[in-house]
Structure formats: C-alpha cells, structure tokens
Symmetry: C2
Subunit: 276 residues, 2 copies
C-alpha cells in the first residue's frame, strides 16, 4: 500500500469492523474509502438535485455487468406524490419514500426480451425457469449498486427499500408493469438532512464471511465477538442495546415480521414468472 | 456539471451508448467515469496480486447494504488448482477460472443465521420462503458489485461467472457448503493480459431501461436502434455481426442453452432452500 493511504485505510476498517477486529489492510485508494464509508440514510432534504443526476445514475447502473448482456432489468423513476405515498404505505410507512428527490423502483424485467422474441415470431424456451428470474434479480442488484456508488461519489445518500416486496402485485399495478416485470426493491436518493447522515454500521468479522478454500462452519466465536459490537452501535445510534443475535431472531423469528412476503412466490407467478 | 468533467462525461457516455445515443450528461466525477468504463475480461495474468488485495475487496463487499443487516451472504476464495479446474469444467470450460490470481464464489447463505438461531434454541419461522433466498442472492450481488468496483479502482479486471449455476450442487460439494448456502455466481479478478483488456460494450438506449412514472412497453424503436450497434460491436470485438435480438434468442431460445440450469429450483431445494 502507498504509505499515504494507510491512515485512511485503518480508519475506514476500524469504522466498519470495530477496533481490534480490522482485517489486514491491502491496496487502497479514495474510491475504496468511499465504498467503506457507506451508510443507509432515512431522512432526506426535499430539495431537487442538479439536472441530469437521474440520467448519470442510470448510466452508471447500465454499466454494471449483466448476464450474457440480456439486460433483464429496468428501473422506474417515480415522481407523482400520490404514487409515492402509496408506495410508502406498502413499505410499512417509510416516509423517506415521499421525501427523497429521486425514488427509483428497480425491476427484474424479462418482458423486454419477451417482446423482442414475440416480434421475431419465436418463443424463449429458457425463460419460464427460476434461473431467469434469478438472473433478472441479480442484474437489477448489480445495476442498483453501481447507482448507489455513483450517488455516494456525488455526496448523495441513499437507502434500499426491500419492503416494496411486501406487495409486489400492488406495486406492479401502480407502475403499470407488463407481465414479466416485477419490483425487486426501491432506492431513495438525495441529500441527507442535517443530523440524519447516519453512521457506518459494523459488520461481522471478515473471518465469518470470507472462507478460504472450503466453507468453515465454526463461526460461533466470530458471531459472539460481533454481538456486543452491534449492541454498542444500537445503544449509540438506534433504540436499545440489542445484539445481532437478538435482531436476527426479531427479523426472521416470526411469520408476522415477513409483512406479507411469505406470499412472494405466488405473487411472482401471477406477475409472469413461472419459476419452474 | 463542473465544465472540466464535460469531455470525460461525453466520452464515457458515447462509449457506453454509441454516438448519437448518449443520455443527458449530469453531474460527473472520476468515480463515475470508472463505473462507466467497466468491461468484462476473460484473459488474466497468473501473477499474484499485492498482499491484502483479497481482504480489501471483501471489506468493500461487506460495506454494501444488506437487508435488515442480516448479512445473508458469504464468499469462498478458491486457490486449489484441482478445485479451480473442476469449477472451470462446470462452467463450460472457462479457462480464466484457472488463470486468475483471485477466484471468488459468492454464496447466498442463510446457514449462519440458522446456526445462530439453533444455538439460541429457537427457529426462524421466516426462513423457508422464496423471500429469504431472494434477499440472500441480492445481498450477495450488492456485495460482489462493490468488490468489482474496488477491484477496478485498483486497475484490476474481472468477470462474473454465472455458469457456476450449471451445477450448484456439485459446486457446493467441492466447497463443503452447509445446508442453507448455495453458490450464486463466481468472480475472476486479476490483471488483464495484454490484448485481452476488452472493450466497453454498448447497452440499450437509456430510454428503453429508464421509465418515468409508469412503465412504457413501446420500446420497439429503441431495440431496433440498438440492434445494429451490437452487430457492429460484435463484428469488431467478437465473432460475427450478430444483433442483440439474435443473441437474446440464441441465449434463451432453447433448453440446451440453459446448460442444466432448468434444474436450479430442485437443486436449491436440495441445498436447504425450501423456496416456499
């Protein structure tokens, strides 16, 4: 590593993993510092952004890899306040969906390829499988993450809205989606309100996530080390000192916490993804 | 836009969309130019990378957003030449899997959360649903794309290997994956061999992918405009002047082209994702 980058690398790794839990620092630069500094923001200024911001973010998104160049994703930019309000309700009352200057709904979208084949008078035999839906969802995620990095490089904040999956059929109806297109998540983009910039959230020790050669299931010590770090972060920035273990169980322990997403499979089939 | 960035923005947009098809240029900077310059590379120098490169890439990956901080992904770094050779065979003979200095297999991984709940003596009622697999796959994709951006910022090239999904059960066995973990894709990282740096591939016109307010299915003109651009790109950089339409039909028109991925659903269920 260039010695001038060492302090930045160490500071970024300490913020992300916690003091004493930093992985080995390798090559580094300002782009990597930017990536490490990500935080989700849920309070946005309603001020409009410079002209062309949306187009720049989508150009970055389209530059991400896409499986076999199939480009099986799309994005809807939603401005209508009434539609924003309905989407916020679907997402369990997330008011930032109504406040952010750019709100995007990323779609897994095989409908464009289906229109193409219909015009060519042929059928896409490979389309009705779970694989095609998965490719489309991954395409959308890679694209969205590039948009996120572009936004953060411009000093803009963001938060993903997975809760649009609470009712993908209702979202699809609101956005006029054709068969073969479904929302996978939303994305708020804008300037963080003062005091709402958030903090870098600590992640699991790298040893728990990075496996070398073969998967190592003996991760109890890494999880035990992480629990108090998340409890400390929660006490400082959120509500109550809950450990990671407690949070995972709260999020996944009950059917109620799924907020309707137990019906996702049937909804996707109804939206034109047979998932064979 | 800062006027000094205008030439860089226009050059990047022309390379990505084709002359005359550039979207409106908005705010810009060097990070966005980097994102726009992405190209997939399939010929790598076998030279090792600086110490700590892998750890830096994984730190960037862990810094991506993860749904509810569940962190339902993992990554296996594979060095063993024999395992690399088997993975290359599964992927249809992609030799770059054997050559690149870093080869990563990204996993959708709910097994860590399941180990946590088992130790806590509870069950995760929300886990057996398609939603949980989708969250895990999206988590893995967001993480991987951050690793890709970090690698490219360091002058390293890469290519995603979706073809690991040709046989996820065989890959899982090779890597010793527990139930609740499955490969979603691989990633080659390294220095491009001279002459193998690739070229920026044109994408669909932005109007075909970005919808405003509601989805617009009237995209035939945008697809028609794109077909000759891809034919020209193919003639210059790949084999034969095939249009995008021809390529999509070749990729998805037959069951054979799925290379076994029509069995993905059954394979995922066998690997511990009930997909309810």
């Amino acid at each position: 590593m260039d010695g001038t980058q060492m302090p930045a690398a160490m500071a970024a790794l300490t913020a992300r993993y916690g003091a004493g839990a930093e992985p080995k620092a390798g090559p580094w630069n300002d782009t990597i510092s930017l990536l490490l500094s990500h935080r989700s923001v849920r309070g946005f200024s309603t001020d409009p952004l410079p002209p062309g911001t949306l187009e720049t973010l989508v150009a970055a998104a389209q530059s991400a890899a896409t499986s076999s160049n199939l480009q099986t994703w799309s994005v809807v930019a939603v401005d209508d306040p009434a539609v924003r309000a309905e989407l916020a309700t679907i997402a369990g009352g997330q008011k930032h969906i109504e406040q952010c200057p750019i709100f995007l709904v990323f779609l897994a979208d095989v409908s464009r390829n289906q229109r193409l084949s219909a015009e060519a008078g042929t059928e896409l035999a490979g389309m009705p499988f779970l694989e095609s839906f998965l490719v489309a969802a991954i395409d959308a995620a890679l694209a969205a993450q590039n948009a996120v990095v572009a936004a953060e490089s411009l000093g803009l904040s963001n938060v993903y809205i997975g809760a649009l999956r609470n009712d993908v059929q209702r979202v699809a109806a609101l956005l006029g989606l054709p068969a073969g297109a479904t929302p996978v998540f939303g994305l708020c983009v804008g300037h963080a309100l003062p005091g709402r910039e958030g903090a870098v959230k600590p992640r699991l020790p790298q040893e728990a996530v990075l496996h070398r050669g073969r998967y190592d299931v003996n991760d109890a010590a890494h999880r035990a080390a992480y629990d108090p770090r998340m409890a400390d972060f929660s006490a400082r920035h959120e509500m109550g000192a809950t450990t990671w273990t407690q949070r995972v169980i709260a999020r996944l322990g009950t059917m109620k916490a799924l907020s309707g997403r137990d019906r996702l499979k049937d909804a996707l089939i109804a939206l034109g993804f047979p998932l064979r």
